[in-house]
Symmetry: C2
Subunit: 241 residues, 2 copies
């Protein structure tokens, strides 16, 4: 089960999908690449569970996940969390960092992760030069906006089963774009608690729903592997349209 990795030297080549990560035009024309390379920071490593970014922080770097999983979340006063998005290799921690803007959320490493960062000043400069760069930045915002629209709808209007099915359906293609999948088995390093925090349920109820899915032969989640046994049914339950 090889996992993909993004590194500074070959970002465009290694990035699994132009649509899902911010890498399409980050490395621009050949002429400019030399300058670009120098502006990438060294890798930063973080162990599983470590908080990578804080709400209200204003970093000078636009950070990207190179390896491993992380997640954006909003911390509640009562100790609860709402997970906003799971971050896979190629994902930007926060598009808001393109501007000189504070994070709206915190970010935590889910597995061990490595990050790379790019100076915001460099991005801004490039936006002045290249239409592709501007579009690329805007696309990053637009992709997040799209996800947010769907997530709001799911949380506002769908049942527990539908929420969890939606989460899986949303993650499956993103995982598949980054690893070789055999026999519909997707690596998914989530605890029940993470799923609960992502879809607005309790871990206890997540367990019950997953048991149901298992008994009905739809999906099985164990040992960090999501095995899909009845995709059409999963889609019927979790699809928004």
């Amino acid at each position: 089960m090889q996992s993909s990795e993004i590194n500074t030297a070959s970002l465009c080549v290694t990035c699994p999908s132009r649509k899902s990560g911010f890498c399409g035009t980050l490395i621009g024309s050949a002429r400019e690449n030399e300058r670009t390379e120098r502006n990438w920071q060294q890798f930063t490593a973080a162990p599983a569970g470590k908080q990578i970014a804080n709400r209200d922080q204003i970093p000078d770097l636009v950070l990207i996940v190179c390896n491993g999983w992380a997640f954006r979340y909003f911390q509640l006063a009562d100790g609860g969390k709402q997970i906003l998005k799971f971050l896979l290799p190629g994902d930007i921690l926060s598009p808001a960092t393109f501007l000189r803007k504070a994070f709206d959320f915190s970010v935590k490493a889910l597995t061990d992760v490595r990050l790379s960062g790019f100076a915001r000043s460099e991005i801004s400069a490039r936006c002045g030069l290249s239409e592709d760069m501007r579009v690329s930045v805007a696309e990053a915002f637009a992709a997040d906006a799209h996800d947010a629209t769907e997530l709001v709808t799911v949380l506002g209007r769908r049942s527990a089963e539908e929420r969890i099915a939606y989460l899986f359906l949303h993650l499956i293609p993103r995982i598949a774009a980054r690893t070789v999948i055999r026999e519909q088995r997707y690596p998914l390093p989530l605890r029940h608690q993470h799923i609960a925090d992502a879809v607005g349920l309790t871990p206890v109820h997540v367990s019950r729903v997953l048991s149901l899915f298992r008994d009905r032969g739809i999906v099985t989640l164990s040992d960090g592997i999501l095995a899909v046994t009845n995709f059409p049914e999963l889609e019927r339950i979790g699809s928004l349209k």
Copy 2:
């Protein structure tokens, strides 16, 4: 109770708040204004209840609400709606239209509204010229992202009372930026059904919660006026932090 209005001729002047609407740099330097003016479309009027934009549609205009209220929503197959955001004068129907991208949602007029539109090609051209313009576009995305983060958190983790209190707290400053407010009475043209669709409840339950708020002397909503009688308590209930 005068209501504010945005019009083509004096967008910068009339717009109530640079932060809440997209108008800060839409009209750029004096030198360029003449060209800009010509590119604004005539007003478009829509009666209350009319659908203004469809999901999956790709318009050539970036549309802005000039007058009245509208809302973005996601239509479900089962007839349900999820309202994503209420649009007040100065708000862009969808930042995604800056790119050549389909709407992620539909938009409907809540009251009678007037709209104005700007050719996307014009915006793109200006992005090439002006740093302010680029920032302005990015700010529009970032503002929506911020709202979405909070809304997801509210829907995922808070009770009915908290959701409704949050909605009011979120709307109050936006209304105040656009009308003169006396005695804590805010014009709010929402039916219970709209509130329900916005925060993921049924209109029946919205009615019960509003009765509670009224009985406890927190807020009263009737005749399209939201009268706030105990703001600190409302804030205690609806605040996210």
